[in-house]
């Protein structure tokens, strides 16, 4: 039946790779070779991007708001630090996974609190959990080093082969590899029936349940997975900077993450990545111009984004690339930003 194959073709419409996506990742990879003096900030952006992708999974897809996503980042960061410090797992990749799993356990345990309530309750509960963990980390200073943080972390070579260098080159490519692998996984998941059911739940939980979707179970699953992602981001932070201090749990970190998604847009995976780049660049630019008042300018940018509308901004930004593609390839624009508003 032709209608059937037609349906199959269109159902996979968003799951197919677009040229724009390949170009995006090639540019990111190229940055690693073009700006050898900027590894530290670029690594920082990659971590933030991964962290933002984690929030995007729950916010952009499942519609769960969170002001305490740093809780998982922090647990991942401390777990990686402790594993390396005490020599439990010396190999960074294994330690990274272990740290992610630690955050995942916390995510699973707290998901039951988060899925209850509505948006406002969720904001408060997630915020509360992050604050609680920060206080605990401070209290148990014999384990965490308290306000001094974990000190004297020495990282072993990645896979026993590639040592972390002082310029951050290994750290950058390591972070990029981790980000890309986790991106591929996330991309696979959001285009599966499971991923689609999350969007259905976000759109209309009543109808989602009425077609047989176990709403709570799906929300628990994605929240747990997002915690894993955030834990990995936190572990990358510790591994590439060799420090873990209390500020990994800080409220600013969770709040910044929301801003990143507001800038980049939620619900299409690239929002966190693009948002992270723009957010850090703005931060850099503004803090160079006015070291004291850079937050004012970030705030102004946010207001403009909200007023003008992200879609229109994206259209403006993508106008030129789309035009080029149209002229050169003689085909319809492929660089589009499908997104649902967060």
């Amino acid at each position: 039946m032709s209608a059937s194959s037609d349906v199959g073709f269109h159902a996979q419409r968003h799951a197919r790779w677009h040229y724009g996506e390949a170009a995006f990742w090639l540019i990111v990879l190229a940055c690693g070779f073009v700006f050898p003096s900027r590894y530290l900030i670029m690594t920082d952006i990659l971590r933030l991007a991964l962290f933002a992708m984690s929030l995007d999974l729950i916010l952009g897809y499942a519609g769960i708001v969170s002001l305490g996503h740093a809780a998982f980042f922090g647990v991942g960061a401390y777990a990686a630090g402790l594993l390396a410090l005490h020599g439990v797992i010396n190999e960074p990749v294994l330690a990274l996974i272990a740290a992610g799993l630690a955050a995942m356990v916390l995510g699973f345990a707290t998901s039951f609190l988060v899925i209850r309530g509505v948006d406002l309750t969720r904001l408060m509960v997630t915020l509360g959990i992050a604050l609680l963990l920060e206080a605990l980390a401070e209290r148990f200073s014999n384990i965490t080093g308290g306000t001094d943080g974990l000190q004297g972390i020495e990282m072993q070579p990645i896979l026993g082969q590639i040592p972390f260098d002082m310029f951050g080159k290994a750290g950058f490519f390591y972070s990029l590899a981790v980000l890309f692998v986790l991106f591929l996984l996330a991309r696979r998941i959001v285009h599966s029936p499971f991923g689609l059911s999350l969007r259905a739940i976000k759109n209309n939980p009543l109808r989602a349940a009425a077609i047989g979707i176990p709403v709570n179970r799906r929300l628990i699953a994605i929240y747990t997975l997002a915690a894993f992602y955030a834990g990995i981001a936190g572990a990358l932070f510790t591994q590439t900077t060799a420090i873990a201090s209390l500020d990994v749990f800080a409220f600013d970190r969770s709040a910044d993450l929301m801003l990143v998604l507001v800038i980049g847009g939620a619900g299409y995976l690239y929002g966190g990545l693009i948002g992270a780049v723009i957010f850090r660049m703005l931060q850099e630019v503004f803090s160079t111009i006015t070291p004291q008042y850079w937050q004012f300018w970030i705030g102004l940018v946010l207001v403009v984004i909200v007023l003008v509308g992200r879609q229109r901004l994206h259209y403006g930004v993508l106008f030129l690339p789309n035009l080029l593609i149209k002229q050169i390839a003689g085909r319809k624009a492929v660089v589009t930003v499908p997104e649902s508003d967060a």
Binding site: A3, S4, Q12, P193, R207, A210
Partner: protein, 251 residues
């Protein structure tokens, strides 16, 4: 005849208000059963209890002889109880293709599949194509639901419920708000449902009720007033009083 859906002494109160009073209904397998009653009679509240959105204060609900009173909404769907909503409950950002695809995937047990892409199972695709064709949605399958005309949305609402392959289907005012020109599609679809599917229809439109139903239950103030075949209910002086009373107020 076997009983497809049954309520036993169902009671529901909102604060001090008794919205369902000692309601015992029996709906036979394959029946075209209509639940009618004036505004505020508590018809939708009954549906919400049957589907699990609301919990009754007391009483039991049985689906094909099995007690489902304590089951959550999605489990009842998997057991073959599906519904449409009086006011469309769709996914504004999703397309008809995705909406129906989800319902089909869930029923076939692929809903939790997080690795395989949507659209790569030919059995699911076949069913989606079939439903889209039957409900005249093939031409708009890639449009966002929110952009569809109301009549199409209404068809999608029913298609989603059918996609769950229900053995018992609850239709909550399927033709509500549909313009006259698009009404025919909806009535044709409702009329062409397979006979082995039991249908409970909630409706205001008496023409539709009497052309469709083979049995009618009349609900007034949450309690069952009378029940019987259409001719008998139409002649019932109590029913006339209820409806005439309402019309007198409306005039």
């Amino acid at each position: 005849m076997t009983i497809a859906l049954e309520t036993r002494n169902l009671e529901k109160t909102f604060g001090g208000l008794r919205v369902t009073r000692d309601l015992s209904l029996k709906i036979e397998q394959g029946a075209r059963h209509a639940l009618i009653g004036p505004n505020g009679a508590g018809k939708t509240t009954v549906i919400n209890q049957l589907t699990g959105v609301l919990k009754p204060n007391s009483g039991r609900i049985l689906l094909e002889g099995q007690d489902i009173t304590d089951l959550p909404v999605h489990r009842r769907v998997l057991r073959g109880l599906s519904r449409t909503f009086q006011i469309n409950q769709l996914y504004p950002d999703l397309t008809p293709l995705e909406t129906i695809g989800l319902a089909v995937s869930e029923r076939l047990g692929h809903g939790g599949d997080w690795w395989r892409r949507m659209g790569t199972r030919s059995d699911v695709n076949g069913e989606i194509a079939d439903l889209l064709t039957r409900f005249h949605l093939l031409d708009v399958m890639n449009e966002q639901t929110v952009t569809l005309p109301y009549g199409k949305q209404r068809l999608l609402e029913i298609a989603v419920a059918i996609a769950a392959k229900p053995r018992v289907l609850l239709l909550d005012e399927p033709a509500a708000g549909v313009p006259e020109s698009e009404r025919h599609d909806i009535l044709a679809v409702v009329g062409s449902l397979p006979r082995d599917v039991t249908v409970l229809l909630i409706e205001h439109d008496m023409d539709l009720v009497f052309s469709f139903a083979d049995r009618i239950s009349v609900l007034v103030s949450g309690a069952l007033l009378t029940e019987g075949p259409p001719e008998q209910v139409a002649r019932d002086p109590q029913v006339k009083a209820v409806y005439l009373g309402e019309e007198a107020v409306n005039v």
